[in-house]
């Protein structure tokens, strides 16, 4: 079985790992040539200008995300260090390597959100508050249709950190499932 994402310590290197789904597991790998970067509020244009030094940039306006192209392997470590610096300066909200699902060959963007469904039972709110307190995560929104399901936000994640958080949540007794709220590529 591929190693857990915690072993993918260098996001600029290709790395393969498995994710638990409700019906079995899937395997994904990082796409080191592409980095998804979310700009901090009102700083999109500035970030775009700053990132151009690292490589070509494509804007996905509807999602507020930039896709940074790092085709030259030699430039990747420096680019990632720069992203970390920009995050500390408050220009970058989060950055993660693009992922590729090996089953479908489709790409996925790891955002700063995790979808969590608590096991059925009374007092979901109390259990949610308890979970937030223990994990330090923030409630982004409640699911409109499933009362015990929530989207939680991780504060300024970097690299594959969100995968680790989702994996950790998924093992908790009170959680039915936890999965990164990926932005998925769609085939039609």
């Amino acid at each position: 079985m591929p190693p857990p994402p915690s072993e993918c310590r260098e996001p600029w290197k290709r790395c393969r790992f498995s994710l638990r789904q409700r019906n079995g597991r899937t395997t994904v790998e990082t796409v080191p040539e592409r980095v998804a970067v979310k700009w901090a509020p009102r700083l999109g244009r500035r970030l775009r200008e700053l990132l151009r030094e690292s490589g070509p940039v494509r804007t996905i306006g509807s999602l507020g995300i930039l896709l940074l192209e790092l085709d030259e392997a030699s430039r990747r470590p420096a680019a990632w260090k720069r992203l970390k610096k920009l995050q500390k300066e408050g220009v970058v909200a989060w950055a993660s390597p693009l992922l590729r699902d090996l089953e479908s060959e489709l790409r996925e963007i790891l955002t700063d959100e995790v979808t969590v469904r608590l096991r059925p039972g009374a007092d979901a709110d109390r259990r949610l508050q308890d979970l937030l307190r223990r994990t330090g995560l923030v409630l982004a929104r409640r699911n409109e249709f499933v009362p015990n399901q929530f989207v939680l936000r991780i504060d300024h994640p970097f690299g594959l950190e969100v995968l680790e958080v989702a994996r950790s949540l998924d093992t908790r007794a009170e959680v039915e499932f936890a999965t990164p709220n990926f932005v998925s590529e769609v085939s039609r």
């Binding site: 638990r20 789904q21 409700r22 019906n23 899937t26 994904v28 996905i60 509807s62 999602l63 699902d101 089953e103 479908s104 060959e105 489709l106 996925e108 963007i109 955002t111 959100e113 979808t115 469904r117 699911n143 409109e144 249709f145 499933v146 989207v151 499932f177 936890a178 999965t179 709220n181 990926f182 932005v183 998925s184 590529e185 769609v186 085939s187 039609r188």
Partner: protein, 534 residues
């Protein structure tokens, strides 16, 4: 009450109708009298009662609740007064549950005797049952139509036919010479219907006739489906003012609900507007334009018999537009999942003509709607297997509770691109451009210079498993129109058991299942008949 008669030792079940009765007229010009009675009743009865009113020769067929075995005196009050005296007897009416058509048991039985049967043996048999030959067949020398020599108050045609059949050393077959109701398999008046080979394949342009979903025959049983059955199109939006869709767009029954005609999960600032909105040159590119869902909606349920464009397989059902993409092939998983859950609140059938990486939340959403949709009977979720020419079925088609739909071409073979393998449930007709086969004609964005066809509100080059999927969803909607109480599993079982085992040799079906075709290509006619008989 159930009756059975035999044809070639095969038992044909019939149900005696409690609500239909046939009246026979006698005397001079009895046919004219029957027609006159029909015209008068047609003019004076309410439109809702007219479907039961028919005339054939001297027999008038009436639908009167509870009048199943009534005598003339009982139904006389319904007949035009001046003509009552000419009505001399009633006939029982049976219903064929397969077709829903009615059969009037007049006093005649068709009998074919075995070769070499002597005249004396024939006469002995007929005399013993008080039957006499009414006429001989001009085309089959051993076949005659017989009638009872005395007419009791009710027809015994079914019973007598069965008794004749028992003499199988003499009789090859005997069957009541029913006066049978029929439905004309009229083509819809939609001008593009002839191009819609997936509905009725006539074998033109190198296609093989009959390689279709048997739509005409299905519509004879359940014409277009019910407006109470809703098909959700979860995609990049549906043009709700399209001239051939607007009549069938779902309207929220909750007064004042903001989601009047569906929801938009792609752009939450326009959450209640599911129309396509993003268009960018080149305007026929699916990846950058909201043009896909409108085509899918048309395949499922474009309006029919409205003298416009083409029509959908379930042209009487409703379309629920649920938008999840906007001008890009990217979508957050929680929005996709919620779109499915929203669809599950309002729709009976959900059509998903797209694929994404497998994801726990989307898996959960499908499980949710299958479990809780339709008041617990479960929504049916149809998903495209994908167009990658792969032996692996895409997600969510691979979800164990979704129905993965692949594509077959107009010659009844798997379309080259159509993904197959574990998880494919069945196939439905679609394009196969790699083999030069015909594509699908359906609704397209009607705005000028937008959509697959720049100058038309109809695309003639749609296809892929994207088209096969709403076609399958529409067939499920017809099944539910026929019998709304079925669970999702029951509908699935009907669709699987009635699918045609196309391309039997290459398909390598084992226990009725093929990795190429699943349980076969959907047959709408057989499916609605199976639903009817449950």
């Amino acid at each position: 009450m159930a009756f059975v008669y035999s044809v070639n030792r095969e038992k044909i079940p019939l149900r005696l109708s409690n609500d239909d009765v046939a009246v026979g007229f006698v005397g001079k010009q009895a046919d004219t009298v029957a027609k006159k009675a029909f015209r008068k009743l047609h003019a004076t009865t309410k439109a809702a009662s007219r479907p039961g009113l028919r005339v054939s020769g001297n027999v008038l067929l009436l639908r009167i609740p509870g009048a199943g075995k009534a005598q003339v005196a009982t139904v006389a009050s319904v007949l035009p007064k001046a003509l009552v005296a000419r009505a001399n007897r009633t006939y029982p009416v049976y219903v064929d549950d397969d077709s829903g058509l009615r059969l009037v048991a007049i006093d005649e039985i068709s009998v074919r005797f075995r070769p070499g049967t002597s005249t004396s043996r024939r006469n002995a048999l007929l005399n013993g049952l008080d039957l006499a030959v009414a006429r001989s067949s001009k085309f089959a020398p051993r076949q005659v139509v017989v009638r009872p020599t005395s007419l009791p108050s009710g027809s015994r045609a079914v019973d007598l036919a069965n008794r004749l059949s028992e003499a199988d050393d003499v009789v090859e077959y005997a069957a009541p010479n029913f006066l049978t109701e029929y439905r004309k398999l009229a083509n819809p008046n939609d001008p593009l219907f002839r191009k819609q080979w997936h509905l009725d394949n006539q074998g033109t342009n190198g296609a093989v006739a009959g390689e279709d979903v048997r739509a005409l025959q299905a519509w004879a049983v359940v014409p277009g489906g019910s407006s109470k059955v809703v098909i959700a199109i979860v995609d990049d939006g549906v043009q709700i003012r399209h001239p051939d869709l607007k009549a069938n767009i779902w309207a929220n029954p909750t007064r004042g609900a903001p989601d009047r005609h569906g929801r938009n999960f792609a752009d939450l600032s326009r959450a209640n507007d599911p129309n396509p909105r993003v268009f960018a040159a080149p305007y026929d590119d699916t990846g950058t334009n909201d043009i896909h869902g409108t085509c899918c909606a048309g395949v499922a349920a474009a309006a029919g018999n409205n003298k416009k464009g083409g029509l959908g397989i379930a042209y009487g059902c409703r379309i629920l537009p649920v938008k999840i993409f906007a001008g890009a092939d990217l979508a957050p998983n929680d929005r996709i999942s919620d779109a499915i859950r929203y669809a599950g609140l309002h729709a009976d059938v959900i059509s998903c003509s797209w694929g994404i990486p497998r994801n726990a939340d989307v898996e959960a959403a499908i499980s949710d709607v299958v479990k809780t949709g339709r008041g617990g009977k479960g929504c049916l979720v149809f998903c495209a297997t994908g167009n990658d020419e792969s032996s692996s079925v895409s997600f969510p088609a691979s979800h164990p509770k979704a129905f993965g739909v692949g594509a077959t071409n107009d010659r009844g073979k798997r379309s080259k691109y159509s993904n197959y393998g574990k998880g494919i449930a069945f196939t439905a007709p679609s394009s196969d451009e790699d083999r030069g086969r015909q594509s699908i004609t359906t609704t397209d964005i009607s705005t000028s210079n937008r959509g697959y066809a720049a100058k038309s509100a109809y695309a003639t080059d749609f296809g892929g498993t994207s088209s096969a999927t709403p076609l399958a969803a529409g067939i499920a909607a017809l099944v539910l129109s026929q019998k709304g109480g079925l669970t999702w599993k029951q509908v699935g079982a009907i669709l699987k058991s009635t699918a045609d085992k196309v391309d039997a040799k290459a398909g390598k079906y084992k226990k009725g299942y093929s990795r190429q075709y699943g349980f076969g290509r959907l047959n709408a006619h057989k499916a609605v008949l199976a639903a009817k008989s449950r």
